[in-house]
């Protein structure tokens, strides 16, 4: 048997083999007519002790627990005593405790602040799950979401109007900073994806069109496809992941650092000071990035087309024949709308993040997810309108 001396000189017995049985925590029980006595002995270590519930007797008038003879103890002994105390309180009998000094002190500490009366959430996970799926709740949530989105857009429009009227405090240095973050830094990734999307469109078209001997129309397909649809959409998707998420993270962190509160106290509208420059930044840069994406996409299509035996000159001639102003216009208009939506989704998520670090993570996810949903919905909407207006 190994013996260790603890700092306070208490003898600590290591558990090994047969000795273990001798030192095991035990409770001697003596039940009288109106009095129950429990004598605690052995080594009281977490995981090695009997539970109080085994000895709980609710009919007794007095329960006496004597733990002065335990060899050593840890919080399991305190827990035993605490359970006894709670049981005694609920069943209304007297409890006499004789605990080692330290254990008594810990028990006193545990009982010094009364438990909070109400438990915030007692519903089971399953009830919560069912509740989360209830259509009434979902529609309520959707309603709240739409309402708060409209409120945000409303105050955003008000801030924009003030800025246009020259009343807002817009710092050009802020706008430049966000333009730089949104624009030049995004060139490589948008370049790569647009080139590849152009090539994908090229292959897709080439395979189908060549069956009809119309392979040359690949140029038209890629050009119109990039200008009207894939250019703006792919750029916006990347910007939602890059810039929208960055906005949410920046503003969320500012909420955590109480910067947003400080700005509000200074009498500055966070909408004007924080949100507007960010949205302006992306609104300026996204259409420019769309133009860049279009050029690279059409170039990607050309690479595929030359591989299929169409000469570059043929491709360029064919492509420029479909390079109509309305396609370009629709694409740029989409870019503009997408930029506003991504900016608003990102900033709104950041402003709503709450004042803890967990909220920042949630805000970032939220910014990307809502940003993408807005994009797709807006894209579909614009396409339908274009169809009706015959653009």
């Amino acid at each position: 048997m190994t013996l260790w001396l603890r700092p306070r000189g208490r003898v600590y017995l290591a558990r090994n083999g047969a000795n273990d049985m001798l030192n095991r925590a035990a409770v001697g029980q003596l039940i009288g007519s109106d009095r129950t006595e429990l004598t605690l002995t052995g080594l009281w270590e977490i995981g090695q002790v009997p539970a109080f519930s085994e000895f709980a007797a609710s009919e007794t008038a007095l329960l006496s627990i004597d733990a002065n003879d335990v060899i050593d103890w840890d919080s399991s002994l305190v827990n035993f005593a605490l359970q006894a105390h709670l049981h005694a309180v609920t069943h209304g009998y007297t409890l006499e405790l004789a605990l080692p000094n330290g254990a008594q002190a810990l028990l006193t500490l545990a009982l010094s602040v009364p438990a909070q009366a109400q438990v915030p959430n007692t519903t089971s996970k399953w009830t919560q799950f069912k509740h989360a799926l209830s259509p009434i709740r979902l529609s309520e949530q959707l309603g709240d979401e739409v309402q708060s989105l409209l409120e945000f857009i409303g105050s955003f429009i008000a801030a924009t109007a003030q800025a246009i009227a020259g009343k807002a405090r817009l710092r050009s240095v802020d706008i430049m900073r966000f333009c730089y973050q949104a624009g030049p830094n995004a060139l490589p990734i948008i370049g790569l994806t647009s080139l590849l999307v152009g090539m994908i469109l090229g292959y897709l078209g080439a395979v189908q069109l060549q069956e009809f001997g119309a392979g040359i129309y690949v140029a038209n397909l890629v050009t119109v496809g990039m200008l009207r649809e894939m250019g703006p959409l792919m750029t916006a998707v990347i910007m939602a992941g890059r810039t929208g998420a960055a906005y949410a993270a920046q503003l969320g962190t500012m909420q955590v650092n109480e910067e947003v509160d400080a700005i509000e106290i200074l009498g500055i509208s966070p909408m004007q000071f924080l949100v507007l420059p960010r949205v302006i930044g992306i609104v300026i840069m996204l259409p420019l990035l769309v133009v860049y994406a279009n050029v690279l996409g059409i170039f990607g299509g050309a690479m595929v087309a030359t591989g299929l035996g169409i000469t570059p000159l043929q491709y360029i001639t064919q492509a420029s024949s479909s390079l109509a102003l309305d396609h370009i216009g629709v694409g740029l208009f989409k870019g503009l709308i997408f930029a506003v939506l991504i900016g608003i989704a990102g900033c709104r998520a950041g402003m709503r993040s709450g004042r803890n670090s967990e909220g920042v993570g949630r805000a970032t996810t939220n910014a990307v997810v809502t940003g993408l949903v807005y994009l797709i919905v807006a894209d579909a909407g614009i396409n339908i309108i274009c169809q009706i207006l015959d653009i």
Binding site: A105, T108, V113, P114, P120, R169, D174, R177, T253, M254, V256, N257, E258, E259, D261, A262, I263, E264, I265, L266, G267, I268
Partner: protein
């Protein structure tokens, strides 16, 4: 700043009436009634989690109370128009727990922001004022630093410097000395006291630093964790010696009574 602002005659600077604060259905504090007199250094105390910071946020209008209102110089903040709220806020200087400096700006830009917004000072005059206020909080020469480049305690002092840029009539502090070393903390106390005295500012402070409380507070309220309301108010010494609530006497004597009992 010159004495252009006419200070109202009444001695009551801030008055809270029947404030009840809640997050959703969870009531944090209820039925708070208290007044802060002009020139007071008013301390909100209480155990952790009792809602001190929440009370301050509600007083600052960053959150809206479930019930009741706060009057500043007799004006009901909760019912004031946005324009009036803005005007009332101009008299406030607030130092948040984290400081709340704008991280994308240098200390100089942070500090000169209120001046740019509300005064017609030239850039050179602003720079002088910024240098003065930074010197007051012991940060002379730190103009070009970003908040992320200085320590937490320095950020807090810089935030105080920003709060006093416009020589406000009300100063609010959320745990000003938390995270400061004892010397800086005493320095900050002295600074707050002298600002209150020399600018005639009314100070509202959330803190549980006993040294600060006894050094500078003129009035204190105690928010109780259990009953979730304000249980006593008065000067710190009065509360320590004569409060009818044992918990307050213990709080103000660092639990000395409780400790002696245990040691016996």
């Amino acid at each position: 700043m010159s004495e252009t602002v006419s200070t109202p005659k009444s001695t009551v600077a801030i008055e809270a009436r029947d404030l009840t604060l809640a997050y959703g259905d969870r009531v944090i504090l209820s039925d708070l009634n208290f007044t802060v007199n002009r020139g007071d250094i008013f301390v909100i105390m209480g155990g952790s989690g009792c809602g001190k910071s929440t009370l301050l946020r509600n007083m600052l209008g960053l959150e809206n109370p479930a019930q009741g209102c706060v009057h500043y110089d007799g004006e009901n903040w909760q019912e004031a128009s946005t324009e009036n709220q803005r005007r009332i806020r101009l008299n406030w200087g607030v130092t948040f727990q984290q400081g709340g400096l704008i991280s994308a700006m240098t200390l100089e830009q942070n500090l000169s922001l209120p001046l740019e917004l509300y005064t017609a000072l030239s850039a050179a005059e602003r720079a002088e004022m910024v240098a003065l206020k930074l010197a007051l909080v012991g940060l002379a020469g730190f103009e070009r630093y970003y908040p992320s480049e200085i320590s937490g305690g320095m950020r807090k002092r810089a935030a105080l410097a920003r709060a006093i840029m416009l020589d406000p009539r009300f100063l609010f502090f959320d745990e000003p000395s938390a995270g400061l070393d004892p010397l800086s903390s005493r320095r900050l106390d002295a600074l707050i006291a002298s600002l209150a005295e020399n600018l005639g500012a009314t100070v509202v402070m959330v803190t549980h630093e006993l040294d600060s409380i006894f050094a500078i507070a003129t009035k204190a309220i105690y928010l109780d964790n259990v009953s979730r309301t304000l249980i006593d108010s008065g000067s710190p010494a009065e509360l320590r010696d004569h409060s009818e609530h044992a918990v307050i006497r213990q709080f103000l004597t660092r639990g000395a009574t409780a400790k002696t009992k245990r040691e016996q």
